[in-house]
Amino acid sequence: MRAKDKMNYMKRILLIGIIAGLCSAVLFAENAASFNASTYKNLLLQVDQALAVLDTDVSAEYLIQKRDPGGATSTTKSTVFRRDAKNQFLVLILEPVIDKGKGYLKIGDNLWLYDPVGKTFTFTSAKERFQNSSFRNSDFEPSHLARDYEPLSAERVKLGTYDCTLLELQAVTKDAAYPKMKIWVSDDTLVRKREEYSLSGAIMRTIAIPSYQKIGNRWLPASMVIIDHLQSKKIGDKVEYERTTVTISKPSLKALPDTVYTKEYLERVAR
């Protein structure tokens, strides 16, 4: 009798186990179905396409205003010429006056710095800070999210007035500026906010793009706010971070001559 009870008890446990297993399998299958990586990879492609200008050049004036945590503010005004189809850009500094004519030229994978006073070029990394602000040289480049990242998770969230898809991304190429990233993509496939992380998961930068400007049927950021989490200072009870505001004005999609993206042009124009 006792043995029979024990047997029944075991059967019951087994049954519960099987039911629990089936339930979790169903739930897991449902989750797997709700996160379809290829769908979100597609979304990344759409994001890249919305910001890429492949059939002409982009010209604009960038005003980069940096405020140190609890300290001084500084401003750099520069002109940017960009040719996404060939992965080229040219940045010419207009202000401050002492830096007038300094240039950054990206041709393919090479980024050159030019100092008109020394009439000298040197080579640098695209990941370097631009004029020591939180803006990086790589931020002048077009978006390559679909190429450099794969989505790990996705969820629908609200960001102020925007309904967004929050994507968690992981770098898949060594060209990626950051190993991990979170992006908030609004329904018009524009990235509204970005959080960039190190490999260990520490937050490095937060970028907000609160406004875009439409030129024809193309979108360009109109303003960006960058918080650099690595540059901080405790002021009273509050931790302040370096904050850089980028205002992009006078955009133009007029085609430019090929010679613009050459060292010779840079030498000639920036005397």
């Binding site: 503010t73 401003t75 002109t79 207009l94 710095l113 020394g118 000298t120 006078k250």
Partner: protein
């Protein structure tokens, strides 16, 4: 003489104890003298390599709150390079230096840390803009391997031999005369690039990791690189500081409260022509970047061979004070920076260790002498009963302790001398780059100075006298009657 004989006899009566204490003193002396010899050798090596190659005996620098040497700030910098402030009063200082007795030569340099590239080889280097007419007479341990130093006033750069060899390993060819060298400095939110040409190669007499990073260059170009310019005073202009910057500090998510997207098709875009015309006018910039030819980072002073460095320094201080010149005077080790200072810190730590060792030994010596006196209570009492005066007893005990301690210390020093003679003939070969930098060369030759030996014996003498106070007190408190009574019992 009789006292000496008695002291020897007393020590001989307890050979085990005498041998034990003597061995301790011998080992202690050996340790202290060997370590001092090694550290002195290292200091001498570092001094020889740095004074004759890098710093001179004394260095003058602009007065600032922050400590810095020839290589810049001693505070580790994480992101941005802080330049070295220029000496403003160079023109007033140079004539004064000629008046100071003991100063044999002086020169001035501009110093900066830059990323220096030769073809595909890039290395973070210390760039010294020098005056070739005077630099090599102050720093006489620098040997020119090839090239005309005069070209250092015409855009040239002299690479040091090791720098050139590192470049050669990567480029698969030695640097040649006329090769372009680009130096880049990133500082205060901007960058500056200057091109030099290879004009020669030089060698340091005692190369080290510190010296290997140095290259010598045209001072005007280095001034321009380090921003010793007429516009340097205007910080706001340089870094682009102004009041246009956004000062809002609200939450970043607040920026999305309303849709701010705009249609830009109506506004005129920027044109290539407008940018080109803006860049054509460079008058204001050119006036700001004009080099201040009188600006120097440091003045290096070499003293006469026989002049005392302290006397020269004090004369210099007096003359500068009299003429109301605000300047900072650095000793060679302060100017050389952390490497030299680390050695001095090591010496200070060692001296503290020695102090503890001496105190321990002293306690042991006192203890052993007290036991020795207590064992000889009867003998001392009998001597007193036979008419020996107090002074005789004092002399006897002091003599015993001096014979033992000075004798053992002497043996320790003789062993050290023998060991050092063997070591010094070949030297201690250092392979660790950190130690090479710290000790100023790859070959360390320890040396025992006569002055240290004298000081050491004086120290032992004083310690022995201190150690004998309590045993003497004990010995003198023994009364002859009690001692004889104790002996009978």
């Amino acid at each position: 003489m009789k006292i000496l004989q008695l002291a020897f006899r007393n020590l001989w009566r307890h050979p085990q104890r005498t041998l034990f204490i003597s061995s301790l003193v011998v080992i202690g002396s050996l340790f202290i003298t060997m370590a001092t010899a090694i550290l002195d050798g290292a200091t001498k090596g570092l001094e020889t390599s740095l004074v004759g190659s890098l710093t001179g005996h004394l260095t003058l620098a602009a007065p600032t709150e922050e400590a810095y040497g020839l290589f810049g700030s001693e505070i580790p910098i994480v992101s941005d390079y802080e330049g070295i402030p220029a000496i403003d009063e160079g023109k007033r200082i140079f004539p004064l230096l000629g008046e100071i007795p003991g100063v044999s030569a002086y020169t001035s340099i501009v110093s900066c840390i830059a990323s220096v590239s030769l073809s595909g080889f890039t290395q973070k280097s210390v760039v010294f803009g020098i005056d070739p007419a005077t630099y090599f007479s102050v720093l006489s341990d620098i040997e020119i391997l090839w090239g005309d130093p005069g070209e250092l006033n015409r855009g040239g750069i002299f690479l040091n031999e090791r720098w050139a060899k590192q470049a050669e390993t990567q480029l698969k060819r030695p640097p040649a005369k006329g090769d372009s060298v680009v130096a880049a400095v990133a500082s205060r939110g901007t960058f500056r690039l200057r091109t030099f040409y290879v004009a020669g190669v030089y060698r340091y007499k005692a190369p080290s990791d510190t010296l290997d990073r140095v290259v010598l260059a045209d001072p005007t170009l280095v001034r321009s690189l380090v921003n010793y310019t007429l516009g340097n005073g205007s910080l706001a202009t340089e870094a682009g500081l102004d009041n246009r910057a956004d000062t809002s500090s609200g939450s970043i998510d607040d920026l999305f409260a309303v849709n701010q997207d705009i249609e830009s098709s109506s506004t005129p875009g920027i044109s290539l022509q407008s940018v080109e015309s803006t860049l054509q006018d460079t008058k204001q910039r050119d006036s700001l970047v004009a080099v201040d030819h009188a600006a120097w980072s440091f003045i290096l002073i070499r003293k006469d061979e026989h002049a005392s460095i302290h006397k020269v320094k004090s004369a210099l201080e007096k003359v500068l004070k009299k003429n109301n010149v605000q300047i900072r005077i650095l000793d060679w080790y302060t100017a050389a920076g952390s490497n030299a200072l680390m050695l001095f810190a090591l010496k200070a730590a060692f001296n503290v260790g020695v102090l503890f060792l001496v105190l321990g030994s002293l306690m042991m010596l006192i203890n052993s002498l007290v036991i020795s006196v207590l064992e000889r209570t009867g003998e001392i009492g009998t001597l007193r009963a036979l008419g020996a005066k107090r002074f005789f007893i004092i002399r006897l005990i002091v003599m015993e302790i001096l014979v033992m301690s000075l004798g053992s210390a002497g043996i320790g020093i003789i062993i050290t001398k023998v060991l050092l003679h063997t070591i010094s003939s070949v030297g201690i070969v250092l392979k660790n780059p950190l130690l090479i930098g710290l000790f100023g060369g790859a070959l360390l030759r320890p040396q025992l100075e006569l002055s240290f030996v004298c000081m050491f014996f004086i120290g032992i003498l004083l310690a022995s006298l201190v150690a004998s106070i309590y045993p003497i007190y004990l010995a003198l408190s023994i009364s002859p009657r009690e001692a004889i009574h104790e002996g009978e019992g």
